[in-house]
Symmetry: C2
């Protein structure tokens, strides 16, 4: 499935939100996150390594969410049961997020889409993209941020499955950690008063 055929996918789409940050702001964040040219190369290598494993990675993440009621409830419909259509629609975009994260296209369109993804975790836009009547009006920020840890640690085994040596796997894993932290930081933006971000 190419990204153009994923329902609700919005990188570069005209109806995607605008980020209040510009590419200079992004450069300062990248510096703070120690993101180097070497990390961008490692991310692209990770993208090749993960490309045919994306569904396996998602299986692990969905298994984690599905086994914890305090996480699964964010995917409940109004009947307080998991909504399979909603879980599936998010899953397709979640897989594309893995690919986009590894592509590390850090331009204004990418920044704008991070703002859009952030908004879709808040009351402003959660459930709208997929037309869901959901139990939860938002993803609480503490879990969105905490997810950096499982999403960092569970990817490492997949990075080691294509014959790269330990040093290369370390580089990919570290770059992945930095890159997903960058997205989590940017997704935090719509949760906070603008002056606090």
């Amino acid at each position: 499935m190419t990204s153009q055929h994923i329902p609700g996918y919005g990188l570069g789409h005209p109806d995607t939100a605008a980020s209040p940050l510009n590419e200079d702001d992004l450069d300062l964040l990248k510096t703070t996150l120690l993101i180097s040219e070497g990390d961008l190369q490692a991310l692209r290598m990770a993208g090749e390594v993960l490309d045919d494993q994306v569904e396996n990675v998602l299986d692990v993440w969905y298994g984690f969410v599905g086994s914890h009621p305090h996480l699964l409830r964010y995917f409940h419909g109004a009947n307080r049961q998991p909504d399979a259509a909603y879980l599936g629609a998010v899953r397709a975009r979640f897989g594309q997020w893995i690919r986009d994260t590894c592509a590390a296209r850090y331009d204004q369109a990418w920044l704008d889409y991070q703002e859009e993804i952030g908004l879709r975790h808040t009351r402003a836009r959660k459930n709208r993209t997929d037309g869901i009547q959901a139990e939860m009006p938002l993803i609480h920020l503490r879990y969105l941020l905490a997810f950096v840890v499982p999403l960092t640690l569970t990817v490492r085994p997949f990075l080691s499955r294509k014959g790269h040596d330990a040093e290369a796997v370390d580089r990919m894993a570290q770059a992945w950690f930095k890159a997903i932290t960058l997205t989590a930081v940017l997704w935090t933006r719509p949760y906070v008063p603008a002056e606090n971000f």
Copy 2:
């Protein structure tokens, strides 16, 4: 210097803020962060390893902040120059935070102090503890969150300096990553409307 003699240090003090979270909320966060009993043991081992290296760790972190104007400005006085007394006062508490993080005392008093530390990064309490007239009224949330990456990656070399094998160093480094992410998540609380956190 024992923690009781650090100006402004407030774990267990009566004038420390109260957290809106309780220990059940904390357990759910710890689960989401994959924090296990093994991590608590690894954190305590890290505490022993780092104990006599805390000043060296702080030298690295202060070197990082000091070499980046967009970070150093948070330590400026009203004259837009770095305030040495402020930098020093924060440094003593920052060192104690390393020790407290490794002690992993996850009780209500610890939760309350995380709320206090969070508040001290916002307009509500930044600069008050040390009586500073500062250029910046708050630490912008995006940099507070981004700091998890340099504070994770720069500690690893120190964890390997006391003769532990690579597997033990990995366990300590991973537990440290989880534990500092937990504090960063909790410090985010005062930045956001209560219903969003």
